[in-house]
């Protein structure tokens, strides 16, 4: 792994000469231990069926509620759950995550989510990304607000990144945030045009386009150095095909390039399994598990600086519906790995699946607020203790002990 100075000298950035390099970069190169902590959020859009992702096989009501779509308990055949702790098991397609769990790097939280009763995908995703369930007026996202305050001179233009063709809600806010679809394509192809466009967008009085324009071109300059070096995942990591794999690989690349990335957001859709859930979920989880495992492997030692957290807008009904699927529910499951995460455990209070234990007689009940999990990561991993600003209206979260302080 190259030190920052070596990187500067050998990369395309060398063309700037240190005198002309952006101020923050020069400072960052000199400051030892200035490696940034990175928080990566992966959003499963469509309400993933948490009860089949982390299977409560020890709960007798589980298979009663799901006569055709329950995942079999461990050791009952090829498609059975991977035992985690004698009560919970992983969906078999998530087997790639088991080593992480066994190495105490992967923590799981069950019966977690948003307290808001909405079962609208759209609203619930909005609430989870804005970090203010129930409030529609919030215009920015929790991940943007989570960034620790820094003096102007030290801020990289790519502190906050959203992978994909649009800037996700979670990353929008007063801190600069950049949407990156494809790292290699992140530039104006014609050098002549680039300079003129940059000047145009920097000087336009159109505030929305001006702001985004500036962020864009600052980020473009940064990307030039990364684009110059082709990327090979380390440690034999193989990302699966598909968008999630690609996004995580690009995040890994950005992390290793030491360009000041602090928060990253990406999403993966297709989880809305109302009909014929088994096959669909198995496929999606296969890709999901492989992508996360590859990311973990690719980062190698760097994983100490990086925490990954997954979430979904709500869970699904405890009882299967009439189409071998499930409908919109309430509490769900979250994964967290990396950094100083104390893995190897399923956190949270299990509320049970007996009829009187279900939320509104149909869903897994909530015993942990998603903001408890995220707050702990923001404070202990990112080092930002100004929580009132990150989760307005939720300044007293209950930490579950996911991370060593």
């Amino acid at each position: 792994m190259t030190t920052r100075r070596l990187f500067l000298k050998s990369s395309g950035l060398a063309m700037f000469g240190v005198g002309a390099a952006p101020l923050w970069l020069a400072r960052a190169a000199d400051a030892p231990g200035a490696r940034k902590k990175v928080l990566v959020a992966v959003f499963q859009r469509g309400a993933v069926d948490g009860l089949n992702v982390v299977v409560p096989f020890g709960e007798k009501n589980y298979s009663v509620l799901r006569p055709t779509i329950a995942i079999p308990a461990p050791k009952s055949g090829v498609e059975s759950a991977v035992d985690l702790d004698g009560f919970f098991g992983l969906h078999p397609s998530l087997a790639p995550l088991k080593p992480m769990f066994d190495a105490n790097k992967l923590a799981i939280v069950h019966a977690v989510g948003s307290p808001d009763p909405t079962r609208s995908h759209f609203d619930a995703q909005d609430y989870m990304e804005s970090g203010t369930p129930g409030r529609k007026a919030t215009t920015d996202g929790w991940l943007n607000r989570a960034l620790p305050a820094l003096g102007d001179a030290r801020k990289s233009p790519v502190r906050a990144v959203s992978l994909g063709p649009s800037l996700s809600r979670a990353v929008r806010g007063h801190n600069d945030a950049v949407a990156i679809n494809n790292l290699n394509e992140f530039k104006v192809h014609e050098a002549d045009g680039a300079a003129t466009f940059e000047s145009m967008y920097a000087s336009t009085l159109d505030t929305i386009l001006n702001g985004t324009g500036r962020e864009t071109f600052d980020a473009v300059k940064l990307m030039q150095s990364i684009q110059a070096q082709p990327y090979t995942p380390a440690n034999g990591a193989k990302y699966p095909g598909g968008r999630l794999g690609q996004s995580l690989m690009q995040i890994a690349r950005l992390i290793k390039a030491d360009v000041g990335l602090e928060v990253a957001f990406t999403d993966v859709g297709g989880w809305d399994t109302h009909v014929n859930e088994m096959g669909q979920l198995a496929n999606l989880l296969g890709n999901f598990g492989q992508a996360l495992a590859a990311f973990y492997q690719d980062l190698g030692d760097r994983i100490e600086d990086v925490a990954v957290v997954t979430m979904s807008e709500f869970g699904r009904t405890a009882k299967e519906n009439g189409n071998r699927g499930t409908d919109h529910g309430h509490a769900n499951v979250m994964f967290a790995f990396g950094g100083a995460i104390r893995g190897g455990k399923v956190y949270g209070e299990w509320p049970g699946l007996a009829p009187e234990q279900l939320y509104e007689n149909r869903d897994l009940a909530l015993t942990t607020d998603f903001r408890d999990v995220l707050s702990e990561l923001v404070v202990k991993h990112l080092g930002n203790s100004q929580l009132a600003g990150v989760f307005p209206g939720y300044a007293q979260p209950k930490f579950r002990g996911l991370i060593s302080s």
Partner: protein
Amino acid sequence: MRKLLAVSALVLCLGARSPKLSKDDQVIHALNRLTFGPRPGDVEAVRKMGVKKWIDLQLHPERIAENPELAQRLAPLESLRLSQADTERNYPNPQMIRAIAAGRQAMPEDPVTRAAVERVVRRFKVKKDTVDNGPLEPQVSLDQLLSHEQIRTLRTGTVEQKRAVITAIPKDQMDDVAIALPPGLRLQLLPAVEPTLRRKLMLLTAPQQLVAFDLSEGKLYRAILSNRQLEEQLVDFWYNHFNVFLDKGADRYLVPTYEREAIRPHVLGKFRDLLEATAKSPAMLFFLDNWQSVGAMAQQRGNAKRPARGLNENYARELMELHTLGVDGGYTQKDVTEVARCFTGWTIRQPREGGDFFYNDRVHDKGEKIVLGVTIPAGGGRDDAEKVLDILARHPATARFISKKLAQRFVADDPPQKLIDKMAKIFRDKNGDIREVMKTMLTSDEFFSQAAYRAKVKTPFEMIVSAVRATGAQVDFAFPLANQIAQLGEPLYRKLEPTGYSDANSEWVNSAALLARMNFALALAQNKVPGSRLDASLFNGAPADIARQVLFTDAKPETLAAIEKQTQGSTNAPVVGLMLGSPDFQRR
């Protein structure tokens, strides 16, 4: 007294009303909002007719003579005209072809499908009892048909050179060549061949994709060429409102009929009719799973032979949340379940064979239901759901929700409440007459206000189409434009969520999208977008003049200053390209 007058005059000026637009600005504004962007000559034509008269004309598309070039462009896109069943039969999926060629499956019985499959299969070597899924080997290989020189040109030559090679191939050999080409090369050649051959090549490579190709091409040609621009804007709006994701299973074959028969005929008609057409369309019934929803008495536990069946609430929820009342419209979870019960039995005949709507009384839940406080008595049938549609179409929340969405699309992201209220009232008074609501909106002071002028950022579709229209670029292969639109973040017909694409400014203004717009603008100007041809000689004047050509108004001083600063005579960044990628051009 004078003081009082002065004060009241001041109060009036500070009132909520935004200043009205000048006559010239009204013309440009109307064109920007009702069309996919002005073409050269449009401003003069509208000014001559008068804005109000022009708007009224656009509200009555049947009175507008259509552009003959459009019919020409749409003619080869035959999958758009087929029924659902015929679409499936004419474009057999590749797995079927492969299985038949490998001897694992018998030829289909249906004569049309059989013929389509035979055309392809006959030319491949039939491997009996093969399990592998690799590419099929042609009977005659490419180097038996073409020289090395020719093959090399096809791979790496210019579009003109490729075209020359293709035209030189004897007609009776063309089919063999088409089959012998490797799939990747076939796709590369698409911009270089004329439409009939293009379809042949696509049919061989990706027959399932042909419907998607036709849909995207059709949508683009209409947006670019149609004289009935407002109608096309509304087809886009209503499709998006009643969104169906093209790539969900059978929807691949159901969407052309959906757009053609459920959406298009009703865009300026009665909302209730539009609502029912979508509710009954196989595309929607499949997309939101209602076709599988059955009432309690018909529910069954699944077993090895038959799938489990039960109530499915997906459509019922989205019907209220997204199509009519809106998420704050005042319905409860109970209402969702009750509506779902009403819709049991609304299903499709054999979706995988492209079936039509049919109502299956055997699986209908005949119990009493209460929807939004209205009792639907027990013993009903198909009309239970129709009563629900009546309730929803007439509900005041629907009038507000639809009016707001229309205002957001045509006026501003945050439209004045006064306008929404005005439109909602007309919606209710005129029984959901969309034309009347549109008319109220498009003749309002709020529409023609300074606050609305250039307030909207163009969506990717709007940006690309308006660039083609403004420059008068000729498009004879629209599909590469569809790819560009996807790059900018809005793949056509492929919004996964039933919410459809947002047209809020914040959705589209981000780094990745902005860069993609700039890159597209330069590519179009340099004639690097396959299938589109811009006449660069039209844009040789001074930057300020070129600006007026594509913006139809003056560019902002900052934009001109940036262009004038750049190195003179750069052909890599032609001024017209810089103008299309400028902040000015991103707004409408």
